[in-house]
């Protein structure tokens, strides 16, 4: 599975290069690095890792079949060594790491992410339009205000239980502009 994911990433990267037209880099000058400030929704410490603002927007009602659930968060590595986030586990659902990949033409597609490197001293953001977790197959209703138990599996720090606050899509912007957003790992 890792090999397939890597191949997909490599192919997608080829497309990005081929179609680049010099548009603004995804993290540079990105309006998502918003300036609003507010309270951090939640914080979890896992060894030298600080995980905060773990949120899952309530899925939009769409009738039969539902819609996948996204999970967003920041991970700040305050330890001396790098770690990686390898998988996310959510009871009753199949979670996978993804990266939105643009082609320079504004074309967006989701590319599976085999893992996310967490360099020491840096913050890695899982935010809309960038890295995110997609959860499919959750049968139980997920509604505003719920708390979803989530396990983040780190290569060094190991499995870590955290929880995701269920929020509205409209509130994501203000929530994800707080806390560790000030320091973006590219």
């Amino acid at each position: 599975m890792r090999a397939s994911s890597s191949m997909a990433l490599a192919l997608a990267s080829t497309v990005i290069i081929a179609c680049s037209d010099g548009s603004t880099p995804r993290d540079g000058g990105d309006p998502r690095a918003a300036t609003g400030r507010g309270a951090v929704v939640n914080t979890f410490r896992v060894g030298g890792l600080v995980v905060e603002n773990v949120v899952a927007p309530a899925p939009i009602p769409a009738g039969e079949g539902g819609a996948p659930i996204a999970v967003y968060f920041f991970i700040r590595n305050e330890g001396p060594l790098a770690d990686t986030l390898d998988t996310i586990e959510i009871t009753g659902g199949m979670a996978s790491l993804h990266q939105q990949a643009g082609t320079g033409t504004g074309m967006e597609t989701m590319v599976p992410l085999a893992f996310a490197v967490l360099p020491p001293g840096e913050t890695v953001r899982f935010v809309p339009g960038g890295r995110h977790v997609m959860v499919q197959g959750v049968a139980a209703p997920v509604t505003l205000g719920d708390t979803l138990p989530v396990t983040m599996v780190f290569r060094v720090a190991g499995p870590a239980p955290v929880s995701a606050r269920v929020v509205s899509y409209g509130d994501l912007e203000s929530i994800l502009s707080t806390g560790a957003a000030a320091h973006v790992a590219h």
């Binding site: 497309v15 037209d21 996204a70 504004g106 597609t109 809309p128 339009g129």
Partner: protein, 208 residues
């Protein structure tokens, strides 16, 4: 459920078909809008699809004289599409009723196989009951996207019956002004406050 490795292959292979990119929208920010202004503004153009009531949808006729926000997306999208729609809905709530009446939001499905009219209606109503969903054969939708300078969408179920596939699609929202001109491309990342500032400005185009 589509296995992840098949999903990856589907997305990657689909994306590889886009190497010969379509004409790019403008990419320079700055100026009077919080998006990427089209200079000079282009004529609105037209297309015909079907709305969620099953009635013919004539883009020009249904949006004539209104600020029109046009987006190509799909309801199974967990990230870009609902965030865009939610941010616009939040911004619309900050406008006066009079301003609100002068704006139309059109959502064109890039996933017509899964996006039934009922599903689109339910999904869009969650954000704002006034949002208009339209759909049609993907080939037609892709031609419309290209007509507006966007890349065509990639919808590639690996096999009949696969329901857990992703769709690559343009992430910009196109903004047309009441003078029926394509005026601004808003990339993903446009904030609620950007919309709240720009929508009244767009309404005034042609009346200043």
């Amino acid at each position: 459920m589509l296995p992840l490795h098949r999903l990856a292959a589907t997305i990657a292979l689909g994306a590889s078909a886009l190497v010969a990119c379509t004409p790019s929208p403008p990419t320079q920010r700055g100026g009077r809008y919080n998006g990427i202004e089209v200079k000079p503004a282009k004529a609105k153009g037209d297309f015909r699809l079907t709305d969620t009531d099953g009635k013919p949808f004539d883009f020009r006729a249904r949006t004539d004289g209104h600020v029109t926000l046009l987006f190509f997306g799909y309801t199974s999208c967990p990230d870009v599409c609902p965030v865009h729609m939610a941010n616009i809905a939040e911004a619309l709530d900050r406008l006066t009723a009079g301003e609100r009446e002068r704006i139309r939001v059109i959502f064109v499905s890039t996933d017509p196989d899964r996006d039934t009219p009922e599903r689109m209606r339910t999904w869009l109503a969650h954000f704002d009951p006034s949002f208009i969903g339209v759909r049609g054969p993907l080939a037609d939708v892709n031609r419309i996207e290209q007509q507006f300078g966007l890349a065509p969408s990639v919808t590639s179920p690996a096999a009949p019956g696969d329901t857990a596939y992703a769709v690559g699609h343009a992430a910009q929202i196109l903004a047309f002004t009441p003078d029926d001109s394509l005026r601004v491309y808003y990339p993903f990342g446009t904030r609620q406050q950007d919309w709240a500032k720009d929508l009244p400005r767009l309404i005034r185009v042609g009346s200043d």
